[in-house]
Symmetry: D5
Subunit: 147 residues, 10 copies
Amino acid sequence: MAIPEITEKLLAAKKAAGVTFADLEAKVGCDEVWIASVIYRQASASKEEATKIVEAIGADPSFIEPLTECPVKGSLDPVIPTDPLIYRFYEIMQVYGMPIKTVVHEKFGDGIMSAIDFTIDVEKEEDPKGDRVKVIMCGKFLPYKKW
Amino acid sequence: MAIPEITEKLLAAKKAAGVTFADLEAKVGCDEVWIASVIYRQASASKEEATKIVEAIGADPSFIEPLTECPVKGSLDPVIPTDPLIYRFYEIMQVYGMPIKTVVHEKFGDGIMSAIDFTIDVEKEEDPKGDRVKVIMCGKFLPYKKW
Amino acid sequence: MAIPEITEKLLAAKKAAGVTFADLEAKVGCDEVWIASVIYRQASASKEEATKIVEAIGADPSFIEPLTECPVKGSLDPVIPTDPLIYRFYEIMQVYGMPIKTVVHEKFGDGIMSAIDFTIDVEKEEDPKGDRVKVIMCGKFLPYKKW
Amino acid sequence: MAIPEITEKLLAAKKAAGVTFADLEAKVGCDEVWIASVIYRQASASKEEATKIVEAIGADPSFIEPLTECPVKGSLDPVIPTDPLIYRFYEIMQVYGMPIKTVVHEKFGDGIMSAIDFTIDVEKEEDPKGDRVKVIMCGKFLPYKKW
Amino acid sequence: MAIPEITEKLLAAKKAAGVTFADLEAKVGCDEVWIASVIYRQASASKEEATKIVEAIGADPSFIEPLTECPVKGSLDPVIPTDPLIYRFYEIMQVYGMPIKTVVHEKFGDGIMSAIDFTIDVEKEEDPKGDRVKVIMCGKFLPYKKW
Amino acid sequence: MAIPEITEKLLAAKKAAGVTFADLEAKVGCDEVWIASVIYRQASASKEEATKIVEAIGADPSFIEPLTECPVKGSLDPVIPTDPLIYRFYEIMQVYGMPIKTVVHEKFGDGIMSAIDFTIDVEKEEDPKGDRVKVIMCGKFLPYKKW
Amino acid sequence: MAIPEITEKLLAAKKAAGVTFADLEAKVGCDEVWIASVIYRQASASKEEATKIVEAIGADPSFIEPLTECPVKGSLDPVIPTDPLIYRFYEIMQVYGMPIKTVVHEKFGDGIMSAIDFTIDVEKEEDPKGDRVKVIMCGKFLPYKKW
Amino acid sequence: MAIPEITEKLLAAKKAAGVTFADLEAKVGCDEVWIASVIYRQASASKEEATKIVEAIGADPSFIEPLTECPVKGSLDPVIPTDPLIYRFYEIMQVYGMPIKTVVHEKFGDGIMSAIDFTIDVEKEEDPKGDRVKVIMCGKFLPYKKW
Amino acid sequence: MAIPEITEKLLAAKKAAGVTFADLEAKVGCDEVWIASVIYRQASASKEEATKIVEAIGADPSFIEPLTECPVKGSLDPVIPTDPLIYRFYEIMQVYGMPIKTVVHEKFGDGIMSAIDFTIDVEKEEDPKGDRVKVIMCGKFLPYKKW
Amino acid sequence: MAIPEITEKLLAAKKAAGVTFADLEAKVGCDEVWIASVIYRQASASKEEATKIVEAIGADPSFIEPLTECPVKGSLDPVIPTDPLIYRFYEIMQVYGMPIKTVVHEKFGDGIMSAIDFTIDVEKEEDPKGDRVKVIMCGKFLPYKKW
């Protein structure tokens, strides 16, 4: 789970600047998860977006350009991640994968939820019995083409 | 990805009865994904819930009891599932795992989203550019205990 | 690489009927690779398409309905297939994966070639030095959504 | 997915020179995917080809010789690549591997498509509903020898 | 099983200071296993806890802050650890996993023992036939939510 | 995670008899987890113990003898179990493996906790904030022999 | 390492007939390793060849046709075979793989030895110090195509 | 597939000296594949052999001694090598492993071909239809000992 | 770890006959571990040896012939066996592999201990502090051939 | 199979001193395999033992202390080692694992051979037909505890 060097430097700058991802969302005008994805080099930004991110955390402008490059994505190691927070998503796929598949096919037909034309949000849902993490994934349904 | 025999029989009964999971949601009073999880033997139902499910699909009452048992969960094979719809969830974990982790920690502190005190919904979001699949996960935040 | 039972029966019927996939392409009006994918339970057909396929190979009409179901896809075993013809596609991904990625990003920006809104054709290119297999993949470019 | 150091330097030179792979295709007289393969050290060039590539991107002549060496090929890590663009080729092999195998055998007999006597092209197909990525693989059919 | 650099430095400081984990338990007021987890970067401390730990081993105050960060957890390599002491826990899971599962379900219903709202103690049980290692795990029972 | 046939039959008998593992503990005079281990064929019983178990659940006496055989142990599949309850023990090993190792070595010297001269208990700890699962492992410390 | 049913039946017939592979080589006019490959369903025979093989071992003529089908090849399990005789070939690849690669490239340029346009012979070399197994592989050199 | 540093230096010296492995075979009086194995640190040379090799490529005498050490052998990574030239040997083992095993047992009885008391030669066989790579393996037959 | 059917039947016969492996050693005149290897289909017997074994356990003579066949060896599953008794040999290899290698090379030169021209004995060493298992492996040293 | 830096330095010192492991056995008064295990950081020595070892090879006294630390054990990579000498132990486990298990259970009951309260010796057995490597493992039998 090697974090790229640029990510470490940008996170250090962000920390030094005392800016949260929620602050970045407000300043940059994009969702905080997406901004985190750019910083973790899982997504590429336009020059304008990269400039806003780098300026918002007070990092060196030399970091702007690298954030616009198309990264090699999917950086977790090992194949089944051991970090408990991340592993739970693997577990959800294992336990609820087939049920979701069945329900999606029944609602939409044969096809998939795109993970590219896709957004993901993380929200805090306050709850007296303990706050809840809400993760909202929304991807275009792509029907299988026949030819 | 061996589907248990009971699942195949219940799905066949459901098909013969012409009932959708959405119908089951209305009849049973539980979410359709959860009902699918019971049928795929990833979740256990109470006797009442199992009875409603089995009756709603017109299956034999002998299926009620097995649905109340605590199953061995997580049935996908191989370790990284090949079915494209299910794989996308693996991909989402790979690409967005670290960004989500960072944002959750910033919002909640050190801990995880529970995959047990957890719900998952699948919705169809109509969109002129192509309908979208919305998957809403909501799990209790569990802070790491110190001792 | 367990072939589903229905696939074996349909292939036997096709053989008995003396029909090639090229014949099926002509009779059904769909590409032969796609028809093979339906028979190998990697794609789902409409009732009309399934009927044409089943009739064209003289199989029992009871096979029509199963061909319309959304299959669990990706049936190769082990994780890196050993069959030489199929392995070569793994090798092509290993050797040419990064070069293709670079060229696609340069031509299209950050995103992927869809494997869902996707067609694949296999053609025979006659060549005096030895005939050639031409595999033409054509998938919609899906740009990464930002949000 | 460790990119060799020489690749990083050549890509940096190419970027500084503002040359695209399409430009290189025109200047070097070879396909852009093949040139990318040479730069990613998946293919070896002749001295003349290497010289043209290195000159076209304005890199140091000391890079010419290394590009003529026979590389150890297939550099992706892990075994099932996580980058979504590259993974789709794994998925295509998983889903369409057996159908392609069947059709190739029917058209050509027992044998394989060579991945050595082989070319691969990437084209942009403009389409009002969204441009498409066209990947054309063309390999000599190699019939199994009997002895 | 790469030990993070900070861990090595803190362990060296601890050794130089001649302090045992049992001493740390007394000085910091937290369990020794938890303190070891903080030092191995498997758990995050509050600023106060981190200060106490760093002071107790006489390390540089610059180490305080890093100990408050939420680490990427689960650092063992390979997937099945080879160190005999650690492997035994894998073996216990293999041999007693199903029996424990059955007994927990019978005692508590469908759900799990949390590994987050969780404590673990290691005690020495003196025994004339040979001292015994006692490991006490105590995690909140989390019943599966239905929805 | 194939449950042996004999296990399924004994569990069915136990269910029909309406006996819990706690009941078995009382009747057989051995810990319930150990009895479950015998039934899951992870431990071997003496003829007397086997007889008591089989009688207590009203199963056929022909099951006595097989329970005395030394089984091939460790039946979980895949290598990293997917069942959430069982996986948590893998996670505990991943997260707390090195901290436990350090503390054990400090308390006992170089050696391990035996998983053979070993007992494991599962207890319910009532707690107003939610009951807790207590798992107590107790294994003989085995110091590394020098020779 | 599941041997196909047809292989088992043909080997049984061959045994009953008291015919060795060397006899088959003489009767069929093809190499004994190739004939063994046909029987193990790793190679496909023409109708004439299949007929000769089936007749030579006195098997039922219904086995002729299946031997002409293009098999899914590469049947060893697990990924690194454990049978000592077969494993040695894995070891040879591990130990001598890079040296062979270097020598082949020096002798032939960039390319490979085909495993399709390929023959393999097994000979007994008598030697007073112990007979030797001679395995002669001979494959067409395939130079990498440039395009 | 990390090449040891000493290998890289010796190969560079060999290149600078303009010596081929065939030249080395003539000068050293050993087979070129074996010499390559020594250089790739898969085999150990005597002092005399090492001296001849090092002198023949004009390398520093300090390299002599390391070549006499018994190396840790088998350096390919990953477990199934991706380099097409080397992979073909894996494929040959997969496809022809069982047929070879059968023929060897029939010719020699139960035992194996040694990969230690073993030689391997690579020859170029000129052929108007395309030159062929001939790989001759010759290992002592080792019968299984009974005791 | 699927035990072959013939093994199960022979073990059942052996049990019914009340014969231990030590008895078999006396009756057959071969080591008990080797006889167990024949029964587990890891070694092949001569007709005479097989006859003695089958008669000594009172099994049907039809079992004689199959015991003379050369088996596919190495039947443990998964790749790293989970049975604690068997796993310990994996652990010994992991922990003492390199030390043994060094000592063997120092004593014998470059080469290996044969696992084919090899015997293995299991003895009980009585010891007041607890009996000990003695496993004596004895294999011919095979020096690496140079050529 | 990364050898720790300290191991490399100690082996270099040992070589410079011209001391064999057999010499070390005589000087230190411990078995040579155990001493090699200490140097390879698979075992920990007492201060006295470490001092003797370090002095016997003429290494710097600063190496004494690190040799007394409890190492993370089991350093082989990959999971199934490729070095032929070490692999043979894996093969022995695969081929003779079940036969040994059966014989041990028959001789001792249910339990294992300890790999901790364990010694291993390597001896040279001179033999006119070729010297033999004798590896004697001797571990305490640990019976499974019942509770």
